[in-house]
């Protein structure tokens, strides 16, 4: 996907929230949506159906207005975390500019986190994207749960964050860490606007 288009004076960034089922990806988008000024509130599209498994994701367009002469739009997506929606995850990842990996901090969910991260890497590779270089931010969600039920940030980081990318503790259900995470991935994506390899720049 083109991030910056000088011809049409547009900047478009596609950010995908990835992670295991019930880790809080949709809750992240819902919090962002709840904080949008009324005049900027478009439609948050949630396609959730039990019968049509090919369409099952959330989409939140963020029209940020004209910035430095560029009409700027962010497109936030979530993928379905459940294993059997693999095809949809691959579809949503097409043209992605940055990824937020929303991990479930619960200790008993560690295996699911690892599996989802491996799935992310495989799907990125299938899309011709390098999992080692694509803008990525880790979010360790559900930090509000009792200490005995969740893994320490350091342990999660050691297990999941082998790239050493920015990571954020979060309690998406109350909004904690949501915008910090979004701001971080946005900065990473935008920092590549001047990268020579950026298409359309």
């Amino acid at each position: 996907m083109s991030v910056v288009n000088y011809g049409t004076r547009e900047i478009t960034c596609k950010i995908v929230y990835y992670g295991p089922g019930r880790s809080g990806k949709t809750t992240n988008l819902q919090h962002v949506y709840s904080k949008l000024p009324e005049e900027r509130k478009g439609k948050m599209v949630s396609l959730a159906t039990e019968t049509d498994r090919t369409l099952f994701f959330d989409f939140l367009p963020l029209d940020l207005g004209t910035i430095s002469g560029f009409a700027t739009r962010f497109q936030l997506y979530t993928v379905p975390g459940q294993v059997y929606y693999a095809a949809t995850r691959k579809l949503v990842l097409q043209g992605v500019d940055g990824v937020v990996f929303v991990a479930d901090s619960q200790s008993r969910q560690l295996a699911e986190n690892i599996e989802s991260l491996q799935d992310l890497h495989a799907n990125l590779a299938d899309e011709g994207l390098d999992p080692r270089t694509i803008p990525l931010v880790m979010q360790y969600n559900k930090r509000d749960l009792p200490a005995g039920e969740i893994s320490a940030i350091e342990d999660l980081d050691e297990t999941l964050n082998f790239r050493g990318v920015p990571h954020y503790p979060a309690t998406a259900v109350t909004g904690g860490g949501v915008f910090e995470t979004l701001r971080s991935i946005s900065t990473l994506v935008l920092s590549r606007l001047s990268a020579p390899a950026t298409k359309g720049s």
Partner: protein, 75 residues
């Protein structure tokens, strides 16, 4: 940029802070890109690179690149 960022900052809240940061980042990047583009604009125009053709067949060799550019312009 300042107009939008300032307007949103008045509204307060997490989104306004986010927008201000994003606006700042974009302004820096656009400035950086413009600086890179400026010397090329003032220097003598380079000879236009012709799309290579296969002489005998008349087939555009770099057609995927051409198609990419067309698609980008259409967006």
């Amino acid at each position: 940029m300042a107009r939008e960022a300032g307007k949103e900052a008045e509204e307060g809240g997490e989104f306004a802070d986010f927008l201000a940061d994003v606006s700042k980042e974009i302004a820096q990047r656009v400035e950086s890109l413009d600086k890179r583009a400026t010397p090329a604009a003032t220097s003598p125009a380079p000879a236009k690179k012709k799309t290579p053709l296969v002489a005998d067949a008349g087939v555009i060799v770099e057609w995927p690149n051409v198609a990419d550019r067309v698609i980008e312009e259409m967006r």
